[in-house]
Symmetry: C2
Subunit: 242 residues, 2 copies
Amino acid sequence: MDRYDSVESPTESTRSFIALVVLSQVFGLLAVVLTGVWLGKYWGGFSWTNASTVFNYHPLFMVLGLVFLYGDAILVYRVFRAYRKLPIKIVHALLHMLAFLFGVLGIKAVFDFHNALTIPNMYSLHSWLGITAIVVFGLQWVGGLIGFLVPQTPQSARSKLLPIHVTIGSFLYLLVIAVCISGITEKNFFSKAYPSLRTAEVIGNILGITLVIFGGLVFYLVQHPNYRRIDVISPERRALHE
Amino acid sequence: MDRYDSVESPTESTRSFIALVVLSQVFGLLAVVLTGVWLGKYWGGFSWTNASTVFNYHPLFMVLGLVFLYGDAILVYRVFRAYRKLPIKIVHALLHMLAFLFGVLGIKAVFDFHNALTIPNMYSLHSWLGITAIVVFGLQWVGGLIGFLVPQTPQSARSKLLPIHVTIGSFLYLLVIAVCISGITEKNFFSKAYPSLRTAEVIGNILGITLVIFGGLVFYLVQHPNYRRIDVISPERRALHE
C-alpha cells in the first residue's frame, strides 16, 4: 500500500512534473550564474594565483558541485523514472563523484585563501557543518557504491539500505543548502557594508533565495508520490537490471 | 505497493524507533537549554524592557517554537502511529499554533530591538528567509485546518493535499533550521571575537550542530518507511476518524 492515494490523472501529473523539472533547472542554473556574477563582478574575479581572490572559487565550486550537480544527481531518478535502473544508477554515481570533486576543490580554495592570508581555519559554524557535510557525502557515496552497484551485495541488504541512503542523501542535500546560506551570510558580513545593501549584498541575498527555491523544487520532485519511479519491467526481469 | 520493502522485523523496527524518538527529544531539549544558557549567561540575559537584551528572546523563541515544538508537532504522527488520527491531528494543529505564536513573539523581539537601537530591519538573508518561512508556516497552518480538520472537505481534496502538505511542511521545517544556522552565524559575527573562539562562540557553534542533529532525527523518523503510521482501524470505520 502506498503512503498516499494518488488522485491526479497521469496526464495532469506528467504535465506538472515536466513544468517543475524545467523550473528546477532554471533556478539551478540561475544559482550558478548568480554565483559567478557575484564573485566575478563584485568580489574581484577568479584566480588560483592571487591570494586575495582565490577564495572566490570556494562558493562557485560549492554551488556548482554540491548544490547544482548534487540536485541533478538526485533528480535523474525522477527524470528517467520510466527507464531501467542500472544506467540511471551509474549517472547518479558519476554526477555525485563530480559534485564531490568540486566540493574538494572548493575546500582547497578556502584553505589556500586562509593560509595565504594567515586567517585561522575551521572556526565558524559554517566550516564545522560544511566539513561534516563533505565527509558524510563521501561516506554516502562509498556506501551507495557498495550497496547498489557492487553486484555481489544481496537484495535483502539493498532493501534495508535504500531508505537509509535516500533519507540521509535528501537530508544532507538540504544541509548543504543550509551551509551555503550561512556562507553567504558570512560573505555579506565581511563586506562591512551591512546593514546597508549595495548591489553585492543584494545579489548575495538573492542567491540564497535562489538556492532555497532550487532545493525546494528538487525536494518536492523527489518527495511527491506522483513523481515516483514507474516500474516498466516485470519483477522477473528486474533482477537483471538492479 | 510501498516505495520500499521493509526487511526489518517489527521488534527490531520498534526498538530502533523508540531509541531514535528518545534521542530526538534529548537533542531537542538540549537545543532549547543551550539557547537559554548562550543568551542568558553569555549575552546579557532576557528582558522585554531592556533595549539591548530584548533581542535575546528572538533566538530563544525561535528555537523553542519553530524548531522544538515544530519538530514535535511533526513527530506526533510517528509517536502515536498506532492510534486513531483525529486526536493526533488536533495535537499537531495545537503544537503548530503554539510554535507559530512563539515565532511571532520572536519576530517582535528582534523588531523591538532594532527599532530601539535604530538598526535597520530586514536587510540580511537571514531576515528575508525567516520572514518568508513564517508566512509560509501560517499559510500551511490555515491550509491544514481547512484541508484536514474541517469535516466538509471532501476526501478527494484531502488525498490531493496530503502529500503537498507533508512535503512543504518537511521542507519548511528544514528551512527553519537553515535560517537558525544563518542567525547563529550572524550572532557569532556580531561578537567581533571571531575568528577567535570564546565560550560564547563555541556554544553558538554547538547549538547549530545540535539543531542539525535534532532536525536530522525528526526527518529520519518521518521519512523512514518502517516508522510510518500503522492503520489499526478497518477502512469502514476509518471514515469516522479522519
